[in-house]
């Protein structure tokens, strides 16, 4: 029985690549979305034009992935302290429509959500990397281009991923989500190799800037159950947004989360400031949701350009935010592994008090202190 408080997403239209019609994934999705119209095409050209980015989020394409599955996290930009994270993409685009999401720029011409049928190819690729480097412990996440759990009720992807990683000794899988769809996860044993991470924010941001996602309370409720089921739980306070009242908002979120969660079983907490390219800003400025501008609080903060071309809250303000967050989190439990995402050494030094190497950050997160 489904236990999520948030309704599961269903597409309004389904495209299936002709060669994949008999794939188990296509059968599964059709069975679970029996009333959704289906189009089968040799090439998915019919899916190429949509009126808007939001329209693309109502369509689902089932296709074979051509190319590599595993990549270095793009956050590992030169000049920034990096946690050596790998991302694996078993799909692209996300049913949620967060106001600040980089996919609005990165996938601006994308006509639909995509899920890939050849998951076993992706797992084989991961396996070869893990076997080639047995001395290293990898952190691998699925949540870069699509929420890790938002489509799981259609795909059952986690029923393949969790047992796969549960059998590996030198990798940790991170499933990154803003949903509360955890039923599949409760059916499999992670054997300590899987962390389910929730992207969290001040409640007002969750409510107003993250449409379609589970609210903060539902994410916390799901995290409690996941912790009890033997999974590690991660938290990503990212993006931190310098809105009017951010101190109350973020302190409230930290308190609310740790009133419920056991901090001793939190695998890691990351902090990241809102980052925007000029093009993403322009997109956010022009998009409308229900006839209203997407969000003014994202655009009106004191964002200034950095050396990587992205705009962030000016350094003094974001260092103040990081210091505040670190203080509140350390007040909860000083042993929680913490890191800051996509910031230069100078910001680490000012906020944390020291500058770790990339390797030190990565090792601290897989328990190799």
């Amino acid at each position: 029985m489904a236990s999520a408080a948030t309704p599961p997403w269903l597409p309004e239209a389904l495209w299936i690549e002709r060669s994949e019609v008999d794939s188990s994934l296509a059968h599964r999705i059709r069975a679970r979305a029996p009333h959704v119209p289906v189009e089968v095409a040799d090439e998915l050209a019919t899916a190429e034009q949509v009126a808007s980015f939001a329209d693309g989020k109502r369509r689902l394409v089932v296709q074979r992935h051509r190319g590599t599955f595993l990549h270095h996290c793009p956050a590992g930009t030169s000049g920034l302290v990096c946690c050596n994270y790998l991302v694996v993409n078993f799909g692209a685009n996300c049913p949620f429509d967060c106001s600040y999401c980089f996919l609005q720029e990165y996938l601006s011409n994308n006509p639909a959500l995509k899920v890939f049928t050849n998951v076993t190819d992706g797992l084989a690729e991961i396996d070869s990397v893990l076997q080639a480097h047995p001395q290293r412990t990898f952190r691998i996440g699925t949540g870069e281009l699509v929420d890790s759990l938002a489509l799981d009720h259609l795909t059952d992807l986690t029923l393949e991923l969790v047992p796969f990683f549960a059998q590996r000794t030198n990798a940790i899988l991170e499933l990154k989500t803003k949903s509360d769809h955890i039923d599949n996860l409760l059916r499999v044993d992670p054997r300590g190799r899987v962390v389910v991470s929730w992207s969290v924010n001040a409640a007002v941001i969750c409510n107003e800037d993250e449409p379609g996602t589970a609210d903060l309370g539902s994410r916390i409720a799901a995290a409690i159950r996941i912790q009890d089921a033997g999974y590690g739980v991660g938290l990503h306070f990212d993006p931190l947004i310098a809105f009017d009242g951010w101190e109350t908002g973020y302190r409230g979120a930290v308190e609310r989360i740790f009133e419920a969660l056991d901090p001793g079983r939190v695998a890691w907490v990351s902090l990241g400031s809102l980052r925007m390219t000029p093009r993403l800003k322009a997109t956010i400025r022009t998009r409308r949701r229900n006839g209203q501008p997407l969000s003014t609080r994202l655009l009106t903060g004191e964002l200034v350009p950095g050396t990587d071309g992205k705009e962030r809250a000016w350094r003094g303000l974001r260092v103040r935010m990081y210091r505040s967050m670190l203080r509140w989190l350390r007040d909860v439990d000083a042993r929680i592994p913490l890191y800051i995402c996509m910031e230069p050494a100078g910001v680490w030094e000012k906020a944390v008090g020291w500058v770790p190497s990339d390797r030190e950050v990565a090792d601290s997160l897989v328990g190799m202190h």
């Binding site: 501008p293 003014t296 009106t300 200034v304 350009p305 000016w314 350094r315 260092v319 100078g346």
Partner: protein, 179 residues
């Protein structure tokens, strides 16, 4: 927007070869906002990039503070800058500075604090202290210009005095603590 105003905007923008997308966006504004932007653009003879920068900041301020674009451009600091009897380039700098202060209030406050501290070092004109753009960094760059050995010695002596002053510690304290 009335046809005469639309014509005036089109004429001004096409004379300066503005891109079509900018013109259409301008024409899409409410009439008072479009007119206020035209008055500013004519007064400062703005090129497209200059207009877009000022417009974006003014729009952000308006979104943040719940004001129309015309209301932002009529705020006292902007009006005061526009009233100055200086040449076009200097006036543009003043208007830009006034808008920037409204757009980035806490950043501007820190920049002002640093500027005051640097001024208090009383360095000679051939020694300049540069702080990072948008304070996006914690390094201070010192520039010395000298045409004679004595000029260089005087610059270094004044810098030595400045480096041992309390204001110098405060400059780095501001950059260190960002408070």
């Amino acid at each position: 927007m009335s046809p005469p105003l639309e014509d005036m905007i089109r004429r001004f923008a096409s004379e300066r070869r503005y891109a079509g997308v900018t013109i259409e966006r301008w024409l899409g504004l409410d009439a008072p906002d479009g007119a206020a932007l035209l008055t500013l653009a004519e007064e400062l003879r703005l090129g497209e990039n200059q207009l877009r920068e000022l417009w974006e900041w003014a729009e952000d301020i308006g979104d943040r503070d719940g004001r129309q674009l015309a209301e932002v451009l009529a705020l006292e600091p902007i009006v005061a800058a526009r009233r100055q009897r200086v040449g076009r380039n200097d006036k543009l700098k003043l208007v830009k500075r006034a808008l920037r202060r409204l757009r980035f209030p806490s950043l501007s406050a820190s920049e002002d604090q640093l500027a005051n501290l640097i001024r208090s070092l009383a360095l000679p004109p051939n020694v300049r202290v540069h702080t990072p753009a948008f304070l996006e960094g914690d390094e201070v760059r010192i520039e010395i210009t000298a045409r004679t050995a004595n000029g260089l010695r005087r610059a270094l002596a004044s810098l030595t005095d400045a480096a041992s002053s309390r204001a110098c510690d405060e400059i780095f304290g501001v950059l260190e603590n960002w408070t």
